[in-house]
């Protein structure tokens, strides 16, 4: 049985669900906060720490996200950059059929690692 937590800030909801193999972080709604880092970074940092302790993969699932401003991309890429240099396994999922998601998330392939610890997947 997995454990779950839901975080909401204005129009953005982030659901964190833990199961035996991974932490699934589902992003929903719209992110247009002036400083989304304040809300997002503590959630991501906490999951990053836990995932190292439990040796679990992190799945960042953006498929149900309607829009995010450029300030929302910032904490995500900072986490990917740190994970790239660390031991975490992160999978970023996006909806390839949505052009905006394809443009934004396929660009994050620059953070992919050869050992597939960091993967960006358009589904």
């Amino acid at each position: 049985m997995g454990k779950g937590e839901t975080f909401t800030s204005n129009l953005l909801t982030i659901e964190v669900n833990e199961n035996e193999a991974s932490f699934n972080i589902k992003w929903m709604g719209t992110s247009i906060e002036r400083e989304p880092t304040r809300f997002i970074t503590p959630i991501l940092v906490d999951v990053i720490k836990k995932s190292i302790d439990c040796n679990k993969k992190i799945i960042l699932d953006f498929r149900e996200l309607g829009y995010m401003n450029s300030s929302t991309i910032t904490p995500v890429i900072k986490i990917l950059e740190r994970a790239k240099r660390g031991r975490n396994q992160i999978e970023v999922l996006y909806q390839k059929s949505l052009k905006w998601q394809d443009l934004i998330f396929s660009a994050l392939e620059i953070f992919q690692t050869k050992d597939r610890r960091i993967q960006i997947k358009g589904l």
């Binding site: 129009l11 719209t30 247009i32 002036r34 400083e35 880092t37 970074t41 940092v45 829009y67 401003n69 450029s70 300030s71 991309i73 910032t74 904490p75 890429i77 900072k78 990917l80 950059e81 740190r82 949505l98 052009k99 905006w100 443009l103 934004i104 660009a107 994050l108 620059i110 953070f111």
Partner: protein, 209 residues
């Protein structure tokens, strides 16, 4: 410090084809046909949106501009891209504008032409924001230095990713407009200290079939 005033390089009529086509009576919906697709689209090809200096206004303006762009028959992808352009430019206007009196607001103008769409966002500035204008100038010149905005975007992603976790600065907005919005950015400051930032996107293949 010397004010940073630039002349508008644009030719108003070419950049605002929608305005030229506008008729005096807007009460009845009109339709036009283009050579590219044989379908009817509403005639209204421009919109002006007034934004109070309040962050909560962004969602309202996003919804209004989204409705306007959809009503023109643009594809969902283009509607999303142009709404993103509007949204990012309003964010900058609210962050760096100077709103000392009630009439100081951010104004958004969207003009749809035969082959281009122009988004213009204006806001008041003063001496305290000249350093931002220099950064804006530098950022736009830097983006123009890349033949492919994707390269500029990924380059900026790499730079931003290395910054401290709690650093508030994103610096991705303009390059995202160039990349995702496929827009050419420009700006000038009028002598009335109004900053005008424009983004011009190509409309090729933009209409819903």
């Amino acid at each position: 410090m010397k004010p940073l005033i630039k002349k508008n390089r644009r030719s108003g009529k070419e950049r605002r084809p929608g305005k030229d086509r506008r008729k005096s009576d807007d009460s009845k919906p009109r339709f036009l046909e283009t050579d590219t697709i044989q379908e009817q689209r509403p005639m209204k090809s421009s919109i002006k949106l007034i934004v109070d200096p309040n962050w909560d206004e962004i969602e309202r303006v996003r919804n209004e501009s989204n409705g306007f762009l959809k009503s023109y028959g643009l594809s969902d992808d283009i509607v999303h891209a142009i709404t993103m352009v509007i949204s990012e430019l309003i964010e900058n206007g609210l962050k760096y504008g100077v709103f000392k009196s009630p009439e100081n607001r951010v104004i958004v103008d969207v003009y749809i032409g035969e082959s281009i769409i122009t988004v213009e966002v204006t806001n008041p500035v003063d001496e305290s924001t000249y350093h931002h204008l220099r950064r804006l100038d530098k950022a736009i010149q830097w983006i123009r230095g890349y033949q492919d905005p994707f390269e500029a975007y990924t380059e900026r992603l790499k730079e931003v990713a290395k910054k401290a976790l709690h650093d508030k600065e994103s610096g991705l907005g303009l390059v995202r407009i160039a990349y995702e919005g496929k827009a050419i950015l420009d700006f000038f400051v009028g002598e009335d200290n109004i900053l005008n930032v424009s983004a011009v996107s190509n409309l090729e293949g933009a209409f819903r079939r």
